[in-house]
Symmetry: C2
Subunit: 321 residues, 2 copies
Amino acid sequence: MKPIVVDAMGGDNAPSVIVEGVQEALSVGIPVELVGDPARIPNYDGITLHPALEVIEMDDEPGRAVRTKKDSSIVRAAERVRDGHASAMVSAGNTGAVAAAALLRMKRLKGVNRPAIATTLPVPGRAPKILLDSGAMADCQADWLHQFARMGSAFAQVRYEVASPRIGLVSIGEEPEKGNQLVKEAHHLLADDSTINFIGNVEGRDVLDGDVDVLVADGFTGNVILKTLEGTVQFLVNQIISALSTDDAAEVGAEALGHLAPIAAELNPDAVGGAMLLGVNGIAIISHGSAGPTAIVNACKVAQDMVELDLVGELAAAVSL
Amino acid sequence: MKPIVVDAMGGDNAPSVIVEGVQEALSVGIPVELVGDPARIPNYDGITLHPALEVIEMDDEPGRAVRTKKDSSIVRAAERVRDGHASAMVSAGNTGAVAAAALLRMKRLKGVNRPAIATTLPVPGRAPKILLDSGAMADCQADWLHQFARMGSAFAQVRYEVASPRIGLVSIGEEPEKGNQLVKEAHHLLADDSTINFIGNVEGRDVLDGDVDVLVADGFTGNVILKTLEGTVQFLVNQIISALSTDDAAEVGAEALGHLAPIAAELNPDAVGGAMLLGVNGIAIISHGSAGPTAIVNACKVAQDMVELDLVGELAAAVSL
């Protein structure tokens, strides 16, 4: 297998935690290389580093950054996949820029209208759920949502070995006539598609708790769901920690938090390795900006699996059915 | 003050908990009456009951139900407000039907394009936030969102005495150019409006944690946020209760849950009394379907306050600025 190329410059704690993650990945036998600015990376002994002297910042406008920063680590990483030097790319950098670079350099898969970002939502005590699009395309058409459903179904099969993934369309009521115009139109397309296991509309309350494997939404709605979910979990975790850290709770607080720690650990997005850009001609994994070394190792493992299981081929087949 | 009319038939536990709530409201001096089917209400001694022999069910299609069930409690309640017999209506029934009945019977306020449902989000340890539209209008135009911002601002002033409510537009990035077409267009309208304190775009993670008083969204996005928030809180509460109820946690579980109970209590939507339909010519409060007697009493108190403080007049003034 060709190596996986990792963006050394992307993420809140780059490059140090990225290098640490890559070292760990190499130590467990995953072929990994770095791309980034040698002058800014303190210590990359034993790791192959492909130079890229520009950096796309987290707050750069994605499309513009990809067009103007041609020697950035994100753009160079996408080019290494395009040119066959790398089998996949991993970045914890600017999400929009990774999506734009992958789209512009690797190009769309044949038959795909628009790519989508598939985010894995870890659910304590249960199988994870996949949410797509979680932010690539803010304005969508119904037939794009239809393709997202097909790609999400294929991804759930390849990545999580779900035999017949249950596909839900995010709306504001279970009935087909509930929702905005986009969703009402998409509902009919999904309902008429015998290649997927469409279970109908799902609501915000099903995001964690519903009997559904893949949640389909436009990128605006998907991103709002993702951020609301993350924000709510973080807010409650903080509230719980402070309630159990008062003097009043001193006798039971520490032990109680110990019993709650596994829930927090299962909700940690680091465990799932990152989001996947579906619909481009290559594997691109977008890790959380706050990704630690573990998230990077997990992202590399996922990338390796997806290459070996030919995710890209499976997606192309699903879309062309 | 004219009495507040309460829909006896609306809600998961109607009519018994509704009657109980109304009795409590009367006992604290709030003028309240019921509307509903006398044959289905076991005991309403001492309460004025206006007969309405039909019931709009929770899963009825709202517009159709309002058109065909003319003698339903929801429609009759809206008519009592329209005709000046009641000063406000409260229902824990079908949200869409309450909104449709209020709109069709009370009519829009002069100058209002579309009404919006303003939901109060309780936030532990902080002032509550207002989210609108949380489900009245699934497809919106930018100028409607602009009016939602003005109405939300006036509502926060009247209802929560916030002097200069901070208005945030829900999007997928803080920068004005982030979002879907609708939000990008609305951003400019809000930014150019000197009558409101627009702080810019906010994200899903700001719903509980952000420094913002009013969250503006189209009804589809708002409803998805509300349900995602409620679902996430409920899921985590269940997870925490089970983690602290195992034999392993026996020694600390009960006491720890006691320390966490205030957080759960503050998150309970019953405390805020219900959502408010803004933009119609009258006061209409929509309580949660699972509303208990306390929620009904609180809704009646809020209705009384909003009548006395002339919310409708303030909304009309805000829209016409």
